[in-house]
Point group: C2
């Protein structure tokens, strides 16, 4: 294990090998000074999210690259849920003594691939010794008008991405049915950045599904002062979800879809006229907004648990 | 201990009780959505820094309020070192099971007092379970032209704030000579925000002293391609430093001043014409910039250690 400044250099090198960049037109000064400089006209969406060992991931189940991937992806998902375009991010790492340079560089490459794909510049960071591995990212995006309180009675509800796969995969890992470190939504979630940019033009209300569809729809209902209705049969699932859950009982499978977290699908509410263009952008209509409060999921198999996802808790 | 959403509400309430705010003209959307919105014209300085239990603080030595104070202050010090005015910050907390609501609220109030004093709006955050207590803050400031690579041959070197007190206090705590949880620079550092704003108009180069004066001056030397000379006798020390170190040998005392970290003084390099206005703003001239490389501290007592500060390591 090398010294702090060498470690940071090695991290940045690996990040760049994977296509990541650490300066650009909107980040005229990147890592290495007391602060970076970010230059964007108009409002910036700002979000922070941490992934912590044994809470959000286990080293036995995720590759270092997947840890770096997920840490950035969950933050870009928050930007997508605002309809903001990723600009820059900072990365604070808590590093236990048993994290060696090879591990760190693989983590950086996983982060670099996601950064490159979505145009997010690594503007700065911080390394610290710690007892547990953690990656805390703050992401900045341009624009962002999709608020949780923007849903109106009569709006339709749409989702980009699929639901249930991450929870089904987690259940498979917990039960020992699935091999560790496989590719999939749980460890390599895809933030719905492009869908968010489309929704920013067509919708007023958005949220990403990190804690479970029913719980996150509940945040929209509470913030907007409305009732959210979801037609369970229309909620999209991935082919991998179907394969992972083949043979399971209907209530368990439905629980993954409506209460499982960490799929990072994007839910938006929009007026009916937007259904066409949202559909062309990959959104699927799954429900609507009524007067009232709370969330109702129609067509659930009897016995389905709606309780919120609590990571490994 | 309450649930996650109640905990966040309680934290925000305590933060506001201490004078902190979570929205304003430059933060039209604060915590509670997928991301906050920050609206500032011109470039933003962005920095991230974490304080982690048993690396940057010990719960036995610092009050919860001091932990919240320091976590924010070290980030505002980075903004000051860029000459940026604090605008907003996010706060990610790693919370072990033994951190109760009373502790969390005291931490929030300590953070709220610093935020209020320096005009930084709490724009968002994230709570996560963790094995060790950590506070990771990302701060955004307006403007910021003081770069580490801005020193030029012939410039003078100035400092705002005093040096050595934090290291002397840490040594006293380690040796059991000092009572825990006292007020002072170690746990309640004062970021040189106003001095930084003055320096932004009068200097090109700045850095805050977090790792030790000699080491941080070395960053300026390396980034600017110059040699930094410091006259030890002119480096300002606080009255509390003198009291804490009375009776110690000269080399130990000097080591606190030139190699001790965490004082968060602000060092800037500026042309000679700026000496007058910088002096009026509280800066003290401590050296100058020459052709060459590295750092030389003149007038040190024999045997003084110049090695960098490594927190509790």
């Amino acid at each position: 294990v090398s010294g702090e400044f060498e470690r940071i250099d090695g991290f940045l090198r690996a990040f760049r090998e994977a296509g990541g960049v650490s300066s650009g037109p909107e980040v005229p000064l990147g890592p290495g000074d007391d602060a970076a400089l970010v230059s964007v006209s108009g409002p910036l969406a700002v979000t922070t999210d941490a992934v912590i060992e044994d809470v959000h991931f286990r080293r036995a189940w995720a590759t270092p690259g997947q840890i770096g991937h997920k840490a950035l992806a969950v933050n870009l998902s928050d930007l997508a849920a605002m309809g903001a375009r990723p600009v820059a991010f900072t990365c604070a790492l808590g590093l236990p003594g048993d994290v060696d340079d090879a591990f760190l560089h693989e983590l950086a490459r996983g982060m670099g691939r996601v950064a490159s794909r979505h145009g997010a510049v690594l503007a700065g960071g911080n390394f610290s010794r710690a007892r547990e591995l953690s990656v805390t990212i703050t992401a900045l995006g341009r624009g962002g008008g999709l608020r949780r309180d923007g849903a109106r009675v009569g709006d339709r509800l749409f989702v980009a991405g699929t639901l249930g796969e991450a929870a089904a995969e987690l259940a498979g890992l917990v039960a020992g049915r699935l091999p560790a470190r496989g590719a999939g939504t749980l460890h390599e979630p895809v933030p719905q950045v492009e869908a968010g940019l489309v929704a920013a033009r067509l919708a007023r209300c958005g949220i990403d599904v990190s804690d479970g569809l029913a719980q996150d729809a509940g945040h929209v209902a509470a913030a907007s002062g409305v009732r959210v209705l979801i037609d369970f049969a229309r909620v999209p699932r991935s082919a991998r979800f179907e394969a992972l859950t083949a043979g399971m009982d209907a209530a368990t499978r439905a629980g993954f879809v409506v209460a499982g977290g960490e799929d990072y699908a994007l839910v938006v509410a929009a007026e009916a006229f937007a259904a066409g263009p949202l559909g062309e952008a990959g959104f699927v209509e799954i429900g609507w907004i009524e007067r009232g409060s709370g969330v109702e999921v129609r067509g659930l198999p009897p016995g389905t648990r709606l309780a919120g996802h609590d990571h490994f808790g």
